[in-house]
Assembly symmetry: C2
Amino acid sequence: MGTAVTNSATTKQKLIRARTASTRLAQLSTEQKNTLLLAIANAVEANEASILTANREDIQNSELEGAMRDRLLLTPDRIKDMARGVREVAALPDPIGETLAEWTKSNGLKIRKVRVPLGVVGIIYESRPNVTVDTAVLALKTGNAIVLRGGKEAARSNQRLVEIMSAVPGVPDGSIELLDSSTRDTVQELIKSRGLVDVIIPRGGVGLITFVTENSAVPVIETGAGNCHIYVDAKADFDMADAIVINAKAQRPSVCNAAEKLLVHEAVAAKYIPRIAKKLTDAGVELHGDAKARAIAGSSIALASEQEWYEEYLRLCIAIAVVSDVDQAIAHINSYSTKHSDSIITSDEANARKFLREVDSAAVYWNASTRFTDGAEFGFGAEMGISTQKLHCRGPFALAELTSSKYEIIGTGQIRA
Amino acid sequence: MGTAVTNSATTKQKLIRARTASTRLAQLSTEQKNTLLLAIANAVEANEASILTANREDIQNSELEGAMRDRLLLTPDRIKDMARGVREVAALPDPIGETLAEWTKSNGLKIRKVRVPLGVVGIIYESRPNVTVDTAVLALKTGNAIVLRGGKEAARSNQRLVEIMSAVPGVPDGSIELLDSSTRDTVQELIKSRGLVDVIIPRGGVGLITFVTENSAVPVIETGAGNCHIYVDAKADFDMADAIVINAKAQRPSVCNAAEKLLVHEAVAAKYIPRIAKKLTDAGVELHGDAKARAIAGSSIALASEQEWYEEYLRLCIAIAVVSDVDQAIAHINSYSTKHSDSIITSDEANARKFLREVDSAAVYWNASTRFTDGAEFGFGAEMGISTQKLHCRGPFALAELTSSKYEIIGTGQIRA
């Protein structure tokens, strides 16, 4: 069985449908939304065969190999994981309708700040089809309509998943709209649709995120780019530092909270760098570094270019620099990082407190791996991404961050003097 | 005494200075910041003569007349008001450093979400020089650096005010930067300075706001446009409705929370429209309306164009439409409004609750004037503006909305499994 990848509606028509759906979704009760979510989980499982068929066609049509092919691939287990994820979101508390603040003014006006949906959420993402279900369900749970612009490699998988979710009885028409992925025009149309879409969330590489951020007329939440640092201070426990550096770099190098840079205090550099260099090399990690690190560890470390200090490797490679103290470590991080996650390893509380306070990143750690910056690890349940901007939300963002607020004011005829 | 309006630093240099200042401002204590604010208030008062001289030069150089000239004009009383405003901000609580949430995970990680400054705030505004002081002081109070791009008419006044504030001992160099207002290039440079500036707030007419929103690579908070509605329901108290309509339209027609449109339930239209039309006309208000309103009140009402239903008059003019019920009133508002402030006048609680819930605006009123949408009226003290977007903040925004948050995580060597 083949799945068609055409849809005759224009982007504008789809966005208008989503806008209309958003007003209906905003009025659904928590129970109604959870019922829809559980029905979606069941429908995803019940349609496993046709999802796998569509995915097989995507795999055959793509020229992806290795890790990229694996990101696109769906299996019966991955489909079960998707459905399980949907049920987990259904079980989370509903933030919509929550009273955020409430007070009465001396003139008798009663003011209530209440949590409401954002409206229409746009997602621009790359090849992983599970994002289609994960994000649609987070949007529905919070009473938002969602417009998805996935990668062209996953076109058939995404279309099948959207068809299955949209066909669940009770899901308002237009709640989940999928844009044509065969042309970049749909990205342009989406990011220029001010007034129809309330927020765009780009999920993918730094190129995609930069393009969307710099060109969108719709507000954006920047996600994901993570040039994360571990700073080993003069009073670090080396065993703890080893475990954290290896975990943060090598446990899953392709993710945004993996460490990309290692800074070492000059007082311990001669002792610590050779030791960690050996352990990193044993773990298959390629070593780059500054002149001071190379002077200590020699030719096992390649000289890092200035540009590299700004970049994510997203692979088994780390750059090592020697710094004179915690202040220089903080200054280095604030100059080069993407403001995602950075950690200090030390037993010196004053230095740790300074680092926590002065490093300008979404998540700042003392004696722990940067790999914990994650919605589930923080206890938020499923997440939409990790925000590296300062507006609206910062760090792991999940249900509460997919909402806005409004003021309801009740009077008895008050006018302004 | 003349004041120079040149400043040899480029926009980029000013933005880098502001970025540097922001890291120092972020570390100031509440007491340090309040001391600076009180010194700024004193300095503004002590320098009244040179401020008035600079302002007189601006007035002489501008060709502004009437209300526009009045917006630019400074007087001894207005300077005292500015200083009083600064002292009021000093007296407000400092949101920075507040613990927003705190919890310990089962693996022992202690997570704290703490309120931090945004960093560098950019303001693009038009002729009123008091905005220069008001916004700079709100930024300093919240540990942010500010970059100001005011109107060219106020160039000398703004420069003198920035010089006075910047010269206060203890204000970090670069905390308050003023961009050249003689060229539009500085607006372009500011809105493209992603990475140096954290948020841009445009304050002014709809043209300015639309230009900035559609072209900025830096996150924007949209402010101010207010196409506000009063809906007189079938069960409205006419005396209450009269007072609210006249107040919302005529008390101060040039502001964003003034009413621009009046919707009347068809069951009471024949009785209410002639009555309110007379009172509005007596208050000097020009009447526009739809065909049904004109059929009732005749030629005293000019036919409103389709475009007018989307627009703010910002003057003594109102458009009146007849609607069939509360649902049509809500649909009309959600189609045409700028999502600012809208009010229902009724004694029917079910209709009122529906209106409060379903009107998608920052502030929704039941039996009160829309004129209350204001930071001071809400009890927030001084405000930066009224946000009409859904991201980050919505409605009146003041100190708390000039902040972001970060996570501080303390461990004992935790790594991710």
